[in-house]
């Protein structure tokens, strides 16, 4: 903070604002909040987690229809928002409706034999035994812990009462099931504490909570039977047992789903699902291009990092990218295969690395034009965990982007006006020099050599590193230690589903070290988090003040 306050004293207010820009983004909105007691023990399932969970429990053919309450992004991550959100009345109504749809399918003729497996027998005309069997089996999956006797009793009694009202056993079962699907232990991951077997005076998460935490982190879904067994027999409470399960979960192909979910959140790619571009200006960019570009980026990452166990930093310099027929024209590439596959772009192709994929370029642009500022801002905020302040309220942009000015034909020329104005420059010098390097890609992410008849100058800089083009920018990011540190810090916050605590600075510092020592392998990073005792620590009494990882902010300015 010393450096920052010095900045305030010596600079203009606006300059100071942007000196603060290199402070790491720790908690977004919570930055100004006073410390509060206790860390949330409840995390609402994200829409993706809910869908995967239902698919795992009841099978992939169960349709889930309805509108989910939007997730909340905190400090750059939706995962960190899961410990802040609750349920609004309209959200509860939607969840209840979705739950009803699921429950009715579970008991319908196509599914009841497999999923219910029993019907009221003549000896048990009311079906108590059948209901009890069903809820003991399904309850464990739904609540990710065994039902208490009270819960089982209630489920059976309510099933039978509803069955009487509706004159239909299965309809009664569906009503009770829908209610469980709207219930707190299903909709929220719940951290429950027990005395720490390693240290009786301390507390730690119980085995069932551990199973959920591991499973949602590594698979983005609910624990499977084997993991629940390891919770039941207590092996998850031992370091060896924990390591065994982590290794098993990471060896499964489902780990790729977990990695996908992390990067989807980290790169904020859900925005691609509703991305629209002006069809007059970008006729080649159809509305289906957004989702395809998202998938492209995620497939590329999973192939390089999860399957091939590559170096995270190489994402920024690789010429390999997942391709399909829909996207290949946007990349001006001949591509024959019917399905996705990895291709290597030719060495003279202007595209190199993640930043030149359509997802990044199009997401951080306007609907009808590119934006070096938005791209540079995303680079700093998303990939380097820095915070760029919003522009001062009273800014005259008029000269800056007058696209009809005959003397300012390219974006670079127009933006240069920003950099000549000290107040604007303090922030724009952080964003634009990187963003301008990507301006040879238009607002829909397609290559262009010229703008308004003038060749686009793609030279730029990141800090003191200068480069000539997007390949150079990729290399600069590859070489910048903040980039992998940001990833490690984000992975921690993603895993715990909240902002990092002040007391966790040593944990994130160790993750940085471990990540570097592994050669920046995502598998090593995820394994280190999943086997770290802090991941299961009882944090409910620790102060919840969010701070930046100090090792990173030291580098700032």
């Amino acid at each position: 903070m010393d450096r920052m306050s010095k900045g305030i004293r010596i600079g203009s207010a606006a300059t100071a604002l942007c000196a603060a820009a290199t402070i790491l983004l720790a908690g977004g909105a919570s930055r100004a909040d006073p410390p509060e007691a206790g860390v949330p023990a409840l995390r609402r399932l994200t829409e993706a987690q809910y869908r995967a969970t239902v698919g795992d429990i009841f099978g992939p053919d169960i349709k889930i229809s309805g509108r989910f309450e939007p997730d909340l992004r905190v400090g750059g991550l939706l995962a960190a928002g899961t410990s802040a959100v609750s349920l609004t009345p309209s959200g509860a109504e939607q969840y209840e409706q979705i739950a009803r749809g699921i429950a009715e399918q579970v008991v319908d003729n196509a599914h009841r034999d497999r999923l219910v497996g029993c019907g009221p027998s003549p000896a048990d005309p009311e079906g108590a035994a059948c209901a009890e069997r069903f809820f003991q089996t399904m309850g464990l999956r739904l609540y990710r812990r065994p039902l208490t006797p009270g819960e089982t009793g209630l489920a059976v009694a309510q099933t039978l009462a509803s069955a009487r009202t509706l004159h239909d056993f299965h309809a009664g079962l569906a009503v009770m099931l829908a209610s469980m699907l709207s219930d707190l232990p299903f909709l929220f991951q719940v951290d429950r504490m027990v005395p720490d077997p390693a240290n009786r005076s301390a507390q730690t998460l119980d085995a069932w909570s551990r199973a959920s935490k591991l499973s949602y982190f590594l698979w983005n879904s609910t624990p499977d039977a084997e993991l629940l067994d390891a919770a039941r027999d207590g092996t998850l409470m031992t370091q060896a047992g924990l390591a065994r399960q982590v290794d098993r979960l990471m060896a499964s192909p489902r780990f790729e789903t977990g990695v996908t979910a992390f990067f989807d959140d980290f790169l904020q790619l859900e925005g691609m699902m509703s991305l629209s571009k002006d069809s007059v200006i970008y006729p080649a960019f159809r509305s289906s291009a957004g989702p395809a570009a998202r998938e492209q980026t995620l497939r590329t990452i999973v192939t390089l990092l999860a399957q091939e166990n590559g170096d995270y930093r190489d994402l920024f310099t690789t010429r390999r990218v997942a391709m399909n027929r829909q996207l290949s024209p946007l990349y001006r590439l001949a591509y024959a295969p019917r399905d996705w596959s990895m291709v290597t772009l030719p060495s003279d192709d202007p595209r190199v690395g993640l930043l030149t994929q359509i997802s990044f370029l199009a997401l951080h642009s306007h609907e009808g034009r590119s934006s070096p500022t938005l791209r540079g801002k995303a680079l700093r905020e998303v990939l380097m965990c820095q915070h760029i302040p919003t522009p001062p309220a009273n800014v005259n942009f008029t000269i800056v982007q007058d696209t009809s000015n005959p003397n300012l034909r390219t974006t670079r020329e127009r933006l240069k006006a920003h950099l000549d104005d000290e107040e604007c420059a303090s922030c724009h010098k952080l964003t634009d020099p990187m963003g301008l390097t990507l301006d040879s890609f238009d607002g829909a992410g397609q290559f262009r050599a010229q703008e308004n008849g003038v060749a686009i100058d793609t030279s730029g800089s990141l800090g003191t590193v200068k480069f000539a083009d997007a390949a150079g920018l990729g290399q600069a990011l590859h070489d910048d230690p903040q980039v992998p540190q940001c990833l490690a810090q984000s992975a921690w916050r993603y895993a715990v589903g909240r902002d990092a605590l002040a007391s966790e600075a040593p944990v994130t510092a160790a993750l940085n070290t471990g990540f570097a020592q592994s050669g920046f392998r995502i598998r090593a990073l995820f394994r280190q988090i999943a086997t770290d005792r802090h991941f299961f620590a009882a944090t409910s009494l620790a102060p919840a003040r969010a701070v930046a990882a100090r090792s990173l902010s030291r580098r700032a300015s």
Binding site: G81, V85, S86, S90, G150, V175, S179, A393, T398, Q401
Partner: protein, 448 residues
């Protein structure tokens, strides 16, 4: 028959007849068979007064929007010209401001947060109190199927300025089709249907839901401070679902003005202003019927986002970019593109008012029994000015409010608007806002 006797007669009629089975505790209004509202002195038993907000982004050009003449028959400057057909139904409140008390002006946020919560802060996540629509909904919204209907014409459920707290945003219903299904879908009971039979499935759902919730409440036990508020919200939300189920078991009272609408044509979300006007109009018509059919008493409608998302197809410069980048035309003296978008936004507002006024209800129109607050997040968007944020009101709140007047302030705290509206809707408040936005002064000029 004197008025008094006529009223007494009809009351008897209502109580002696079907009303016994219509769920009296839930409903605070009654109509006789001809649809005439009962007089006001029957325990609040006249046509319900509804409250709503209507938001548009990027403000206006003050010289082209603010009327100069005060009171009734105010002048309509060019950007307000679309209001001509509904001018007598719309009041303009000009010159009210958000005071920042030294806090930063977060572009397109501070003004909106200040107007809606009485305290400007840097982000919605940091708000210190709920938005005024939620306090009004808590006061008048009970007993309707929806405590509030939150709508946005931009296709994005995240576009909402209705918050109970920084982490509790009321997500929007964001398209005409979704609105139709939400209100007039499977759970809808036509209040004018001759037959009513409580659905046993709903009885079962209600009974199971309350049993499970009760058990959950009992089991949760002690919670950390960080979770307590969230769990309270969770239970409130579930309770709301239970209340809705209970309502569905009651025969809904007749609603004379209710005509169940047809399913709308699918209208894909668009940022093109002409397309936006179309989907907004479809949503306004559906909302009018949702109100007339007693499905809700409170709503929020977003026409365009803060930092307006509007544009014209084929143009590289959208409305928001134009507010900052467009040169002031020397001969005209203003930014012409910005002026056009602002005028188009006012056309949207005029369409909305007309849609509410088109529904006959009692002796007047649906709008007569409404109070709608229309506002933006800035005045002059070019420099994100939060002084003189444009505010308008429509409707007469069942006769409590004058319509068609212009009240000009010279920088008074805009929290006076919020205080006035909350008081009019019965929220027990004698002052509202914090810092220099704290006020106990209502805007008496608009009251009858």
């Amino acid at each position: 028959m004197t008025d008094f006797n006529r009223r007494a007669f009809m009351l008897r009629g209502a109580f002696a007849g079907a009303s016994v089975s219509v769920g009296l505790p839930f409903l605070d209004y009654f109509l006789d068979n001809s649809g005439t509202a009962f007089a006001a002195d029957f325990g609040g038993g006249r046509l319900p007064v509804r409250f709503g907000t209507w938001f548009w982004g990027c403000g206006m050009i003050p010289d082209r929007w603010n009327p100069t003449k005060q009171g009734a028959g105010y002048d309509l400057p060019p950007e307000l010209a679309p209001l001509a057909p509904v001018q007598d139904k719309v009041s303009v409140l000009s010159g009210f401001s958000v005071s920042l008390d030294g806090k930063s002006n977060q572009p397109h946020i501070s003004g909106n947060v200040g107007l809606r919560t009485g305290t400007p802060v840097d982000s919605w996540q940091q708000i210190v109190g709920p938005t005024l629509d939620t306090t009004i909904a808590d006061t008048i919204g009970a007993g309707s199927f929806f405590r509030s209907l939150d709508l946005s014409a931009d296709g994005n459920p995240r576009t909402s300025f209705s918050y109970r707290s920084g982490t509790e945003m009321n997500a929007s219903v964001a398209s005409p089709m979704e609105l139709y299904q939400r209100v007039f879908g499977a759970d809808f009971h036509d209040p004018n249907a001759a037959e009513f039979k409580p659905d046993p499935r709903i009885m079962a759902r209600r009974s199971v839901l309350s049993a499970v919730t009760e058990e959950r409440r009992r089991m949760l036990g002690k919670l950390g401070a960080a979770d307590k508020a969230r769990v309270d919200s969770y239970f409130t939300a579930i309770r709301e679902v239970e209340t809705k189920l209970a309502l569905q078991l009651e025969k809904p009272p007749r609603a004379e003005a209710c005509i169940v609408p047809q399913k709308p044509a699918d209208q894909p979300a668009s940022t093109d202003v002409a397309e936006r006007q179309k989907s907004h109009k479809l949503m306004a018509d559906l909302l009018a019927m949702a109100l007339a059919c007693n499905q809700t008493k409170v709503f929020n409608m977003v026409f365009s986002t803060a930092t307006s998302d509007l544009r014209r197809a084929g143009s590289t410069t959208a409305y928001h970019q134009a507010t900052h980048e467009e040169l002031v035309d020397r001969t005209k003296g203003y930014q012409p593109t910005v002026d056009a978008f602002s005028t188009q936004s006012m056309q949207g507002w005029a369409d909305f008012v007309a849609a509410m006024a088109a529904v006959r209800e009692g002796d007047g129109t649906l709008l007569d029994n409404m109070l709608v607050l229309a506002h933006s997040e800035v005045s002059y968007a070019k420099n994100h000015d939060v002084n003189g944020i444009p505010v308008m009101l429509a409707g007469r709140a069942g006769g409590k409010v004058k319509s068609g007047i212009h009240v000009a302030s010279h920088g008074d705290a805009i929290s006076r608007v919020g205080l006035t509206l909350q008081q009019l809707m019965g929220v027990p408040l004698d002052s509202w806002g914090t810092g220099s936005m704290h006020t106990n002064r209502t805007i008496s000029e608009i009251m009858t």
